[in-house]
């Protein structure tokens, strides 16, 4: 039996288990410029994201509170880690590239300017083999983008 669970390391990468168990950015920001909630009604995952912007308009800090599976929590944490210090345009580009990676397992952007953050997010690429779990990985991103665009709510449906 342990053999077959080892197969799952492509989905439950050690990085995901670690960030799922002990997220570093799972906190509400005291002061923030933008916030949004994300909701996956199919599975009941919920997340709230807060964003603090710097004078240059880039993301100075972000935090989240999530109720969901290991993948959704780990993805939110890795997202926070990779977007802090990044401009809104870069964050959008990173989201698009990450979404492609989560859906297809492919990463055409991985050699470009976003190579470093995408490498950090790469442990989540395994979800593409589990179509029902892709939304777990993208929910936090939908909420973050909604917050940056001034929305209040996002759904990964």
């Amino acid at each position: 039996m342990s053999d077959s669970f080892d197969d799952l390391r492509d989905l439950y990468h050690e990085v995901i288990l670690d960030h799922g168990r002990r997220p570093r950015h799972a906190r509400r920001l005291e002061s923030f410029d933008a916030t949004a909630k994300g909701d996956n009604p199919m599975c009941g995952d919920r997340i709230e994201v807060w964003v603090k912007l710097g004078a240059d308009g880039a993301i100075a800090d972000t935090g989240f509170q999530a109720r969901g599976c290991a993948i959704s929590v780990a993805s939110a944490d890795l997202m926070a880690e990779t977007v802090i210090g990044r401009s809104k345009a870069d964050t959008h580009a990173l989201f698009e590239a990450f979404r492609e990676m989560a859906r297809t397992g492919k990463c055409p952007q991985c050699d470009g300017a976003l190579a470093d953050p995408l490498e950090r997010l790469e442990p989540l690429a395994g979800v593409h083999e589990y179509p029902s779990r892709v939304k777990c990985a993208t929910l936090a991103w939908h909420a973050l983008i909604a917050a940056l665009e001034g929305g209040k709510e996002a759904s990964s449906e």
């Binding site: 799952l8 288990l17 969901g68 599976c69």
Partner: protein
């Protein structure tokens, strides 16, 4: 099917599951090289060969539209389809086959009730009473009715044990405003049977009619609508080893007669002019359009299959499975089982301390075990127990003790994985 062969000799009312499993072709499937362990029958049950064959044979040998053709094929098909109505009437001991309305599923049966009984019979100021352990399909139609017609929606709370709070139930009936009690007969999350006879007695004493959502109950227990003395009963074919796309609403003849139609169209009319139309007799008044013909034929076959095995044997088998599951899962550290109802059927929901239900389901899937994870379309009940989601294992006539052991052993490994 040889019924004798399926009952273990010397142990009456216990199934020979090995034999039963041979009737279900899908159970031979392998999932990623592992035998399928299908513990998601409460969502939809697998189909025995008899059902598959009945539908195939109808399509190959005698199929046409029903109730309208004056030709051999249509007459034969009509007989087969109407045979399903007789089978349903016999299954639930209905007094009259006209009381059996075919719908698509329980959701449509409940929407029919909210529309035709809720808008046609109930009056603003009256109330509909549901319980805290309803499926969304027995909540949302009544909310729509409330918001449109000012018909109050009341909710009977669920106790910590996962049972209906009968004291609160009576208190909510006391002012006599409740026109309809619409309640699950067996929770799809907790497995709890609601005390149907008591519910009916109390509701009738306060002048309310009673509708049961029997989607789960009819699979596990013999339903006798006359003995229950209820007014309406809904169930669906696909959980009862039949096809999807056919559900049932049984109702007392005089009540159905008094209700306005639900959907309009062909089949449900007596005559149509541009000035006015008149309605067909029940049940056809509620069956607009070409009905689920093949599905009716499949359901007839499924009911026949279940009746041949017999509810005594089915109930005994599932009680043994639930007892075994509660003992095995309850003994695992970190597993919290939802509900400790005295009277319960073949459904066990649980939370695991170290892992979210979706992670549990994904790992179990790797073992070939199919379970459901999520809120089970019962969000209010989840919140009642302070949870967002649970993992649910549900049992059927083809479920074995070995499969439950395998689930328990796998859960121990899942917990290790998320250490």
């Amino acid at each position: 099917m040889n019924v004798e062969a399926k009952l273990s000799p010397g142990r009456p009312a216990l199934l020979d599951v090995t034999c039963i499993r041979e009737d279900f072709p899908i159970l031979r499937q392998k999932i990623r090289g592992k035998p399928l362990v299908f513990l998601d029958s409460a969502a939809s049950a697998q189909k025995p060969r008899a059902v598959i064959e009945a539908m195939r044979e109808a399509m190959e040998t005698q199929y046409a539209n029903v109730h309208r053709g004056l030709h051999w094929m249509s007459e034969r098909t009509t007989d087969a389809y109407e045979g399903a109505r007789e089978a349903v009437a016999a299954l639930i001991n209905a007094n009259d086959t006209h009381e059996v309305v075919f719908t698509r599923n329980v959701t449509e049966s409940l929407n029919l009730m909210a529309h035709s009984y809720g808008r046609g019979i109930l009056k603003p100021g009256q109330a509909v009473l549901v319980s805290g352990m309803e499926h969304h399909s027995n909540i949302v139609p009544w909310q729509l009715l409330r918001d449109e017609r000012g018909i109050e929606l009341r909710v009977v709370p669920v106790t910590d044990a996962g049972e209906l709070d009968m004291g609160a139930f009576e208190a909510l009936l006391a002012d006599g405003k409740v026109g309809l009690v619409s309640m699950t007969h067996m929770s799809n999350v907790l497995g709890t049977y609601t005390p149907a006879e008591r519910i009916v007695r109390m509701a009738h004493a306060y002048g309310a009619k009673v509708l049961f959502d029997g989607a789960q109950a009819v699979v596990h227990r013999r339903i006798d609508v006359q003995a229950l003395d209820c007014d309406f009963y809904a169930f669906t074919g696909h959980k009862l080893y039949g096809p999807t796309g056919i559900g049932v609403l049984w109702g007392r003849r005089e009540l159905l007669d008094a209700m306005p139609p639900f959907l309009g169209g062909g089949e449900m009319i007596s005559s149509v002019t541009f000035e006015r139309s008149t309605w067909a007799e029940v049940p056809h008044k509620f069956e607009a359009g070409t009905p689920p013909i093949l599905e009716g034929i499949g359901l007839n076959s499924a009911i026949d299959y279940v009746q041949q095995i017999g509810y005594d044997a089915i109930a005994a088998h599932e009680t043994a499975l639930v007892d075994h599951a509660l003992a095995r899962l309850g003994a695992i550290e970190g597993v919290h089982i939802l509900g400790q109802a005295q009277d319960r059927g073949g459904v066990v929901s649980f939370a695991l301390d170290r892992a979210h239900a979706h992670d549990v389901a994904t790992l179990l899937d790797r073992q070939g075990i199919a379970v459901r994870a999520g809120n089970h379309c019962a969000e209010p009940l989840m919140h009642r127990f302070g949870l967002d989601s649970t993992t649910r294992a549900s049992f059927a006539i083809y479920t074995t003790h070995d499969e439950i052991d395998f689930l328990a052993d796998s859960l121990v490994r899942v917990r290790e994985f998320f250490k």
